[in-house]
């Protein structure tokens, strides 16, 4: 078996090793390239920025711990922007596994930075089963779905929730998700209650959302770690997404390199075996 044949049938473990090295390398040596802002990320940033100070907004933590690397920087950057504008933030999740804890941890961390008080400046509603019922139900009354917050405090005892009844009192819904829940935020909440919805999503989910941005059903979109890095750049927070860009860059380049190499070996070995014969 010649070199090109070996390359055409390369053991996938060599590929795995190369990917591992490409992720580890930028952690040791920082190579920084400027992050360019996409129109969709800017649209989302401007939508939040143009809201009056002290507006009540929803921030959802619709993601599992598995995608924290992509989604958590979005939540942190968004919270920084919201608290800086003295907005009142209501957080919730449709994810039972980890959603409430992540919301609690991240919100508390950013709130402390801006001296925000729980119950007055922000509230974590937590998780409720059956997202369709939850999203629809909050259109009539948030309290009917969440009689108490994530800590078990009745909503009527929280000053912030006294002035919020349903979606009519929410100025913007900022969804951070790693799953198809955004479809429901659009089709149930935006379409039926007209509350503007913007989203930050994992890179794999984002391409599906472009038609909704075009149709105006989604006000802005962040895609994956790059989207998170763009938002960090816009808000002025130097977070983990910007730092992760180096590793992502190298792995993308590595994959492109592999694709080129794979094609060269494909053409060389095809010439040997004759046209039309596929290995």
């Amino acid at each position: 078996m010649g070199f090109w044949d070996k390359l055409a049938n390369l053991d996938r473990r060599w590929i795995y090793l190369s990917v591992a090295i490409s992720v580890i390398f930028p952690m040791l040596f920082v190579i920084k390239f400027p992050v360019e802002i996409s129109p969709e990320a800017r649209q989302l940033y401007n939508a939040v920025e143009s809201l009056p100070d002290s507006s009540v907004v929803f921030l959802t933590f619709d993601y599992y711990p598995s995608t924290l690397a992509e989604t958590e920087p979005m939540s942190i950057a968004a919270l920084n922007q919201m608290f800086r504008k003295n907005m009142k933030v209501i957080t919730m999740t449709t994810i039972p596994l980890g959603g409430p804890s992540i919301a609690e941890r991240v919100t508390r961390m950013v709130a402390e930075k801006y001296n925000k008080v729980y119950g007055v400046d922000y509230v974590n509603l937590g998780y409720k089963a059956n997202y369709v019922a939850v999203l629809k139900g909050m259109g009539s009354s948030i309290e009917s779905i969440y009689p108490s917050d994530n800590r078990g405090t009745p909503l009527k005892d929280l000053p912030l929730m006294n002035k919020v009844k349903n979606y009519n009192d929410i100025k913007f819904i900022y969804v951070v998700a790693d799953n198809a829940i955004v479809d429901y935020w659009i089709s149930i909440v935006n379409a039926q209650y007209k509350t503007p919805v913007g989203a930050g999503m994992t890179a794999v989910m984002a391409p599906k959302m472009y038609p909704f941005v075009q149709a105006g059903q989604l006000t802005g979109l962040l895609g994956g770690m790059k989207g998170a890095a763009e938002y960090e750049e816009l808000v002025g927070v130097k977070g983990t997404a910007i730092r992760g860009m180096d590793a992502q860059s190298l792995v993308h380049l590595l994959i492109i390199g592999f694709v080129i190499l794979g094609n060269i070996s494909y053409f060389v070995t095809r010439k040997k075996t004759g046209p039309g014969v596929m290995k």
């Binding site: 596994l97 790693d178 039926q192 794999v204 989910m205 391409p207 599906k208």
Partner: protein, 292 residues
């Protein structure tokens, strides 16, 4: 020929009905105390039209009219894959997605499982069906047991064919990957709603050397299945699969009706594009906007 003629008349009539809707535009505002949500009139018309078309085609199919359904290579390959598994004496692995039973994709997956189970029962090929939710466990067991009974292979059925493995997405994936590497199924069939685990499953199956057939309506997961599987059913092909595999005219009629509506939608898009190109599409747009 007669069916084609009737289809054309039906199509033109529907298109005319839609065109009438353009003038005058319906009242967008909802009457506060009314019984009906008038802003959803366009959706109601669509629902009635859609149901009428599907039912008409189903009726025609029942009457024995010949309906042409294009070949779906992925589904034709199912029987071939089970045959290969039988020859090799290896199992067939079927995953009905990782969503709950309330997801229509999962129901489609479970329906296809029923068809696949009939084939595996016929050939007496071992079948493994790992599931992520207890509700699907119950439904899956019922479907597979019925399939084995109908094929007269009740003795070959056992409750462990459909098994609950884990509720957490990646714990489920890890378990299924383990089954793939240990049992080396000859064929892996993925039908239903899949998310980030799609590539983890398909790539492991590929490494294990299995024939792989996937079907999902999640556009974001399609590229992964296309890259790692031998056949991929896209979007509506998943919902058509059960009917296609059944070869029952009654079910195929529904597919034909669905295609008819699709052509109608394409026509509406084309009309809208032309109207907007001439700057007179606002009324047209209002119909669809009001339907939200």
């Amino acid at each position: 020929m007669k069916v084609r003629l009737l289809s054309t008349i039906f199509f033109l009539a529907s298109l005319t009905a839609m065109a009438f809707l353009v003038f005058p535009a319906p009242a967008a505002a909802q009457i506060e105390g009314g019984i009906f949500r008038t802003e959803r009139t366009a959706v109601l018309i669509f629902v009635i039209l859609f149901s009428a078309v599907i039912l008409t085609y189903t009726r025609w199919a029942k009457q024995g009219k010949k309906l042409f359904i294009r070949k779906i290579a992925g589904l034709d390959a199912v029987e071939e894959a089970v045959g290969r598994a039988t020859e090799m004496g290896k199992p067939v692995l079927f995953i009905p997605g990782i969503s709950e039973i309330d997801e229509i994709e999962t129901i489609a997956g479970v329906s296809i499982l029923g068809r696949v189970a009939r084939i595996t029962a016929q050939y007496e090929t071992p079948l493994i069906v790992p599931v992520r939710y207890p509700m699907i466990l119950a439904a899956g067991q019922e479907v597979v047991e019925q399939a084995y009974t109908e094929m007269g292979k009740k003795d070959a059925y056992n409750q462990d064919i459909v098994r609950y493995v884990a509720g957490e997405q990646f714990a489920f994936t890890a378990t299924v990957n383990g089954i793939m590497m240990r049992d080396k199924p000859a064929a892996n069939i993925y039908m239903g709603a899949f998310f980030a685990e799609s590539l983890l499953l398909a790539e492991t199956g590929n490494a294990a050397g299995s024939i792989q057939i996937a079907g999902t309506a999640r556009p974001e997961q399609l590229p992964f299945f296309v890259a790692a599987c031998d056949y991929t059913l896209m979007g509506e092909e998943l919902y058509a699969a059960s009917s296609y595999l059944s070869h029952e005219p009654l079910l195929l009629g529904g597919l034909k009706g669905q295609d008819f509506i699709k052509v109608l939608i394409v026509a509406v898009i084309a009309v809208g594009s032309i109207l907007f190109s001439f700057g007179v599409g606002e009324n047209f747009k209002q119909i669809f906007g009001a339907g939200q």
